[in-house]
Symmetry: C2
């Protein structure tokens, strides 16, 4: 940033934050995104990413957290900045002739625990989880932002332990495998190889507890050990 003695006029910005909030419903095999139905023009009645304008004294991340807190009751989540979309003419409210305000959107990516994230239904049918496979047309350039978020989701799952931010405290290896399968598709990996690879790495601690789900042998419950994971930070491809 620098002070300017330039001739050309500077753009005036309204800065907003838009969230791509994913949730993995392991029981029902669904990857979900949280969408809000718009009640005003432009794009009235279109679905959109939940967003807000940034307030005085509020950091961008605090703004993203506020959006989450207003829409869902969630305790366990992963949140990080995604990308900033700020080209001219991305919002029809900008007057194309008079060069009025520009709308800049800093997008954030979030992954929340599904079982643990009750919707705050202020207005019925206005806030809803949508399956990624079956999305309505989105307002503004939100589909582009969402695509960006989906790419980030897959990258993060490959390289970072964000799955454990969103799984219960204890979980079975089948749960973990299931989570990865939802995002990366069937046969993204052989289950038994997935097992032995992860267990050999040593950051999944067997709690000794077992859980029985209907028929079949009871599954061991594991716990993520953040300390034991530390050496794998910045190392490529631990999970897949």
């Amino acid at each position: 940033m620098k002070n300017l003695s330039e001739s050309k006029k500077l753009a005036d910005f309204k800065v907003g934050v838009d969230n791509v909030i994913f949730s993995l419903d392991i029981r029902q095999n669904r990857l979900l995104v949280l969408l809000i139905k718009r009640t005003e023009k432009p794009f009235e009645n279109y679905w959109s990413l939940p967003g807000t304008l940034v307030r005085e004294g509020e950091s961008l991340e605090a703004s993203a957290e506020r959006i989450l807190a207003e829409k869902i009751l969630v305790n366990n989540l992963y949140l990080e900045q995604l990308y900033t979309f700020g080209g001219p003419h991305r919002d029809p409210r900008e007057d194309p002739t008079s060069y009025g305000d520009r709308y800049l959107s800093v997008s954030y990516f979030a992954l929340v625990r599904f079982e643990d994230s009750g919707l705050i239904i202020r207005d019925l049918n206005q806030t809803a989880w949508h399956e990624l496979q079956n999305l309505p047309a989105l307002a503004f350039d939100h589909q582009e932002i969402l695509n960006y978020g989906y790419r980030r989701l897959r990258n993060k799952l490959e390289y970072s332990p964000i799955a454990f931010d969103v799984l219960p405290e204890v979980f079975t290896l089948a749960d973990l495998f299931q989570l990865y399968t939802i995002v990366f598709g069937e046969n993204f990996s052989d289950y038994s190889n997935f097992r032995s690879r992860l267990l050999k790495l040593g950051f999944l601690k067997d709690t000794g507890l077992k859980i029985t789900k209907g028929a079949g042998r009871p599954a061991s419950l594991y716990q993520f050990d953040a300390k034991a994971f530390a050496p794998f930070k910045d190392k490529p491809l631990v999970f897949i």
Copy 2:
């Protein structure tokens, strides 16, 4: 983004773009960053990342390109968005009591070809390449932005063919190896394994030409074949 009927006041933003511009000087084994000496308060006489405020009708990326064009004459480069820094109080010009304008900085990451990037010296000693190993104190939060850019540089080099945006049209495998060595340090890999791995992948085309540098056997000149690289997009760890 949504229209608001909220009680709290919104922040007003000035939006700037700051560039982390890297250059790899293979001949002299140096990784360089372009810095600008500030001539005004605050942080007068501190070095800073080159930046600008966004103009009317100008996209963020166009803004980043304009910074580059104003500082250096360069034809070959890689450019992408890095991160957005927008918390309150990151610029001392913000009045902490009155909640005046906030300074939001969208940072961009660039890698340029060193031999090909003459500095536009408008004001002597105000624009200069600095060795990453030996940096002065930077203005604002620019050291943090730079750290972010350095991380991105290493990531990109590992996973993407950005080295070829910045190498000459034809180059030797020693040049390529040298480039990676500057960023990842001595013995980041065995040279002969690096050779055979990359050649086996098949996206480096032998031009048949040779080059002699002083004593020793002449080296083959290779060319990057973008089409042959396509299958490796999104595949992890092609280069290291």
